[in-house]
């Protein structure tokens, strides 16, 4: 049965195959547990050995704490038909910085993942993308101004079709 797993802010689709192998985003991995000492596992995946520690709330892999959350996988089509996605979204600044460039204007129709703004923070130009196909309803900031984290950048109207 396919499932969705969120690992380090990224989502993967995985499945445990009948022979014990794992399929992650279509790539097949054979994993085996070599040892287990006080809930510390030595796991070998494709010739790489990892140390996985299990606690009541999370996992530690090679010394690093990680969180995973597993959800059932529902193919995309049924998501769209089922629960209605939010129509209006406000995009917020993920980090504080300066609005270096605004690449769209109010009323623009944009595609999914289109570059909308460039937020500059300490030499890095961070691109703000559209979450979906839709319309730019309102731009809430001006070029060359500083924004705080979570400050509203623009209002966006979803139009999936």
């Amino acid at each position: 049965m396919k499932k969705r797993v969120t690992y380090r802010d990224h989502e993967y689709i995985f499945e445990i195959l009948p022979n014990g192998d794992l399929s992650i985003d279509g790539e097949i991995f054979s994993a085996s547990v070599d040892q287990e000492i006080n809930s510390v596992y030595k796991v070998t995946v494709n010739n790489h050995t990892f140390t996985v520690e299990v606690s009541s709330k999370d996992f530690t892999i090679d010394g690093e704490n990680v969180d995973i959350s597993i959800k059932p996988f529902i193919p995309k089509r049924s998501i769209n038909n089922g629960s209605q996605e939010k129509k209006n979204i406000s995009l917020k600044a993920p980090i504080p910085g300066k609005i270096a460039q605004i690449l769209v204007k109010e009323g623009d129709i944009v595609g999914k993942n289109q570059e909308l703004m460039i937020l500059e923070a300490m030499k890095m130009r961070n691109r703000i993308f559209s979450p979906n196909k839709g319309k730019v309803k309102k731009i809430c900031v001006k070029e060359n101004t500083f924004v705080e984290q979570d400050q509203k950048l623009l209002e966006f109207e979803n139009s999936p079709d």
Binding site: D9, I24, A31, V45, F50, V54, F59, N65, K123
Partner: protein
Amino acid sequence: MLGTVLIANRGEIAVRIIRACRLLNLKSIVIFSKEDSTSLHVKMANEAYSLGKGTVQETYLNIEKIIEIALTSDSDAIHPGYGFLSENPDFAERVEKEGMIFVGPSPSVLRNLGDKVESKRIAKEIGIPTIPGSDGYVSSLSEAEKIGENIGYPIIIKAAFGGGGRGMEIVENPEALEISLLGCQTIADKFFGNNKVFIERYISSPRHVEIQFLADNHHKSIHIGDRECSIQRSYQKIIEEAPSFLSVRKRNSLGEKICNLAEKLDYRNAGTAEFLWKDGDIFFNEINPRIQVEHPVTEMITGIDLVVEQLKIASNKELSINQRDIKFNGHAIEFRINAEDPLKSFYPQSGRITGLNIPGGNEVRFDTFIYPDYVFPNNYDSLIGKLIVKGNNRNDTITKSRIALNELSISGVTTNIALHNAIIASSEFQQRIITTDFLEKNKITEILLHYEKLKLAAILKTQSIQKSKQQFSPIKLNETSNGTNRWREQSKREQQRNYL
């Protein structure tokens, strides 16, 4: 000798300078913004003064406030570190005007070097090869057309005071020249307050080489070897190594020329001359008039403490090291550990450090300012530490680095540690086939994604085994009444089943 040094910086470099001050028995004064009040430099310094809350302009770039703190704390000198005010001639001038010492070159040298055309002209005079291009600034289209014809396309238009990958336009053919020239002039004016631009031949996928030098206040200068910093992401270095791939003869001849340049400029303190290398040709790019992030790789192979030398020079001491004393021993690589997500276009991350494992062993160094439970702010640079590893030769160093990178773990924020693992695992890196577009060329993010999936597979496997165990034995797992570990028994049985 100086008595008290104010460090006008934060992060790992502030900590690094405090260590040098301690070695020389100098009192260290630091400054901090509200976000940095729990940062390590604040804890380590002899005295710490708040810059209050606000933007970078209101805090670490606030010249008036910093000068005021320096005066009330009776500082003799100000060490600017890198970034922030380190290359600002107005700041250096102000420091000197108030009767203090700026740990760096004089304001006039900073002014000359900040102007890319001027520094290029001086380098050319000394006989240092520069990138073919305009002799000065270009303002009209007809001038630009003539230069383009002479040096051949593609060309690059650069803002005179630009930097960090900004204010540059690559022009592929004469037809695109007019719009690119106009665009670059507009950006230069908008971001650097000056619309002056110049033109150079565009050098695609070059290698980045640089030479470290030191000059004292008594007309003595020495060059301390080279570094290669070709592994970059969005024009920012992420892996640096020393020595570079240049031959000993080439390294020495460039070093001598750079010392001549330092002499001619009346340069003082530490500096780095940056070059671009392509197909056997090497071209001068710019001089960074400050300590650099990657200075430790030079320290590792020469044994020279560059920050200590900076402070000694600022104290008006003569350089005690002679050119002939400089010997290179082995190979060193530095990995910049950034709080950023390589799989999400290097987006800066922030958060609480919930776990920290620092690697150790022979010739393994980790310079950082984070500690467990430290809340890492996202108002500044994403650099959270530098792992520096030294070995007998490059291969030896790569092996040691792999072990050290595996040992290094930081929980709570996403870092680029796994990216470094992916880079050094590539045969291109191992064979030193590296250029500034290494990451794109070798599809490193794909390798990284594969690594992430390997780890995820290990976790999911562990989880599934653990789950099935819980189903088998609803009673207490760890121990049974007769003292045997049931969990282990179970695991053994299961493994056997897997192998059957």
